[in-house]
Amino acid sequence: MIPDEFGRVVILLGVALAFPALPLLVSYLLYLFHIRPERPDPIKHETYECGVIAEGGSWGQFNARYYLFALGFVIFDVEVVFLYPWAVIHADLAATALVKAAIFIGILAFGLAYAWKRGALEWR
């Protein structure tokens, strides 16, 4: 059975859901009681892009180079998940555990070095 500690995750989930919902609710309530003015404007409904006026839709085809960054993120995310159990227990293990992790990181570091050398990390 899972401990009660995980039950507190549900409380955290409730707070996390309430946190963004509460301002919207308060704003709507203020509107209902005519405390907040309602002045719609097309400019207010524009997509905010750091003050730059957005051009076109966001549905265009993007450059395939973005995919390398997405996949690189996934790869090193998976690496972290594999290294996390090692990080928890490595103090109890012999030095061979360090070597095993070094091989694991080394193989991926080779890939990163290759990407660096081919200039795949630079935007051209």
Binding site: M1, I2, P3, D4, F6, G7, V9, V10, E49, C50, G51, V52, A54, E55, G56, G57, W59, G60, Q61, F62, N63, A64, R65, Y66, Y67, L68, A70, L71, G72, F73, V74, I75, D77, V78, E79, V80, V81, F82, Y84, P85, W86, V88, I89, H90, L93, A97, K100, I103, F104, I107, L108, F110, G111, L112, Y114, A115, R118, G119, A120, W123
Partner: protein, 190 residues
């Protein structure tokens, strides 16, 4: 006792997961489908928690809800037909066959496996221990080869992405380049 809470959590999480998964098939907007896919992943992470698999649950959130969903978003962004809905399903027939086959395997396995390894008092007395130390010892002990081979698999994924992106013969069309340049111009001001 936490068992009542666990049962409630199981049914709530199952309902969220199944409803979201069914909605993915019904939605015509691909991006909305991806958002619901993230909800499915989170619901499955919660289901893993109810099964006392804490590390798998966190890994599910990190990898699937965090990273795989980003890959899905990028796949939609890079696809020329991304502006359309998912109306033209060319592989509906084979997909239905494959999905039915996988579902049949899952159902047969679910009924075939003897799930009740612990029963009665032994199940009641079993206390929760976090699984990560066991996973670490298994990963660095008997399964160290799989641990290193996983690194090789990730390496090949990285190399494949590099080849896919930097191949000079694969630069088809300048329109995608121009559009992407415009996108970076807009996004680059952040």
């Amino acid at each position: 006792m936490d068992s009542v809470g666990v049962v409630i959590a199981f049914y709530v999480l199952s309902a969220i997961t199944i409803v979201s998964a069914a909605s993915i098939f019904l939605l015509r907007n691909l991006v909305h489908a991806i958002v619901l896919l993230v909800v499915v992943f989170l619901g499955m992470a919660g289901l893993f928690l109810t099964l006392s698999a804490d590390f798998i649950a966190v890994a599910q959130i990190l990898i699937y809800a965090g990273a795989i969903s980003v890959l899905f978003v990028f796949a939609v962004m890079l696809t020329p037909l991304a502006s359309r809905d998912n109306g033209n399903s060319l592989y509906a027939g084979p997909g239905l066959l494959l999905g039915g086959a996988i579902a049949a395997i899952v159902v047969v396995t679910a009924f075939d496996v003897e799930w009740n390894q612990l029963t009665g008092v032994a199940l009641e007395q079993r206390s929760f221990t976090d699984t990560i130390e066991v996973i670490g010892n298994q990963l660095l002990g008997p399964h160290v080869l799989a641990f290193e081979v996983a690194s090789v698999l990730l390496l090949f994924a990285l190399l494949g992405a590099i080849v896919l992106v930097t191949d000079p013969n694969n630069e088809d069309g300048t329109t995608a380049e121009e559009e992407a340049g415009k996108d970076t111009a807009v996004g680059g001001s952040e």
